[in-house]
Assembly symmetry: C2
Homo-oligomer: 242 residues x 2
């Protein structure tokens, strides 16, 4: 049985403000919850309809029915379980290797997919502008499929961060160098821009290497790629010869 | 003013069955509608809140208010316009060049993003299994960002189609050849599998070349890539040396 206060708390965690105030977030589904439990995330409380997760201490585990799950879930078709975790302290930024910088990514699905890509390509650090969607947004957590436990995500003043770095800074534009013909290093910062507006003007000034993903076909009318698919192509290019 | 019958018709078009029965679909937003108008799609009727699209004949254009748009829109935050188009006759399948085959892609956003990718990489033909989400689903139309006008999409018995083709058939698996080290032709069929289950067993039997997108990093715990980002990496690899 889930109490009224618990419902109120979890419903609040749909909002960034409440997540920040309580320093809590939640995840849904067996796979993501298991990955969080196996990593360093600290469980606050688990709610399940299946009487599973028996290794979780009884004081932190409540078996609920489907109607109760529906009340606390962020999904239109709720999974079988939902778990509230503590937001961990921000880790120190890793200043080596390839770093992905996100300039105002707004769509939770895109951020989650990008995190999953970073995990696949061994990118350990993502730097986000303050306006980028919160990593603990339930839709982001869901879309990461567990990768949230393995990639370090930091929110910074992106302009300031890029102004101070000594690493080369890469961005993709229509007029850049063909990415397929560029020599790409294994240390550097790759900037991905906002879904509608691309890389913002003030961030563009910090770019030291302008790249282009070439278009093919006769028409070449497509104006842009989705930011997650563009990230996939760019990370694959940086890593394929590493 | 939009009539009750029009509202009923357009609401019906949210469902595949009604789209098929009426041979109509709808698109929302200035950009997508403009691309459809400029291509060979035949307009049935345009509804706009902005008194724009003045080149559309008055008999096919109705200025409506935002409340009316909300009633017919598939979006939680409706754009300024919605247009109903006739579903065009299926074009003949193009049997040369690179062809993308989709084995049961269920998510409309994924199909739309994949279409946009094909447009970018000059892939003219997509073959879909009958279970793949309908290309005229409003969420697919939206996610294509206009690419729907430039890529030929055909729904077929995929198993039969692949059994009869003389082209090489590519699929990605955990145990395939490293895609970065493979010689990739410019004629062939690339199969992408279902979001949860990958390529189905009976389709897997038709694959003549098994490929792998290598994982990087120490942990290598990510189990899979999102199907749209995997498609991005694969198409980029096939095209980069073309």
């Amino acid at each position: 049985m889930v109490s009224k206060n618990q419902i109120k708390l979890i419903s609040g965690l749909h909002q960034k403000k409440q997540r920040f105030a309580n320093q809590l977030f939640f995840a849904e589904g067996v796979k993501v919850i298991q990955e969080l439990l196996q990593s360093n995330f600290e469980l606050e409380h688990l709610y399940t309809t299946l009487n599973d997760f028996q290794t979780v201490h009884a004081s932190k585990r409540t078996v609920i029915n489907e109607q109760e799950l529906k009340k606390i879930s962020a999904l239109s078709t709720p999974n079988s379980c939902l778990a509230v975790f503590k937001i961990p302290a921000e880790k120190e930024i890793i200043h080596s290797g390839l770093i992905l910088a996100l300039d105002d990514i707004r769509d939770p699905g895109n951020l989650g997919t990008i995190l999953r890509l970073c995990d696949w390509f061994g990118i350990e650090q993502i730097i986000c502008s303050k306006e980028t969607v919160d990593i603990y947004n339930p839709k982001v957590v869901q879309a990461t499929m567990g990768s949230i436990t393995r990639v370090n995500v930091s929110y910074v003043d992106l302009k300031l961060f890029l102004a101070q770095t000594k690493l080369p800074v890469f961005g993709t534009f229509m007029d850049g160098e063909n990415i397929y013909q560029s020599k790409l290093p294994q240390d550097g910062i790759i900037i991905m821009g906002n879904e509608a507006n691309g890389i913002s003007e003030e961030i563009e000034k910090t770019v030291t290497s302008r790249l282009t993903i070439p278009r093919f076909g006769e028409l070449q009318k497509t104006e842009s790629l989705n930011v997650a698919t563009a990230t996939a192509i760019i990370l694959s290019e940086f890593k394929r010869n590493s």
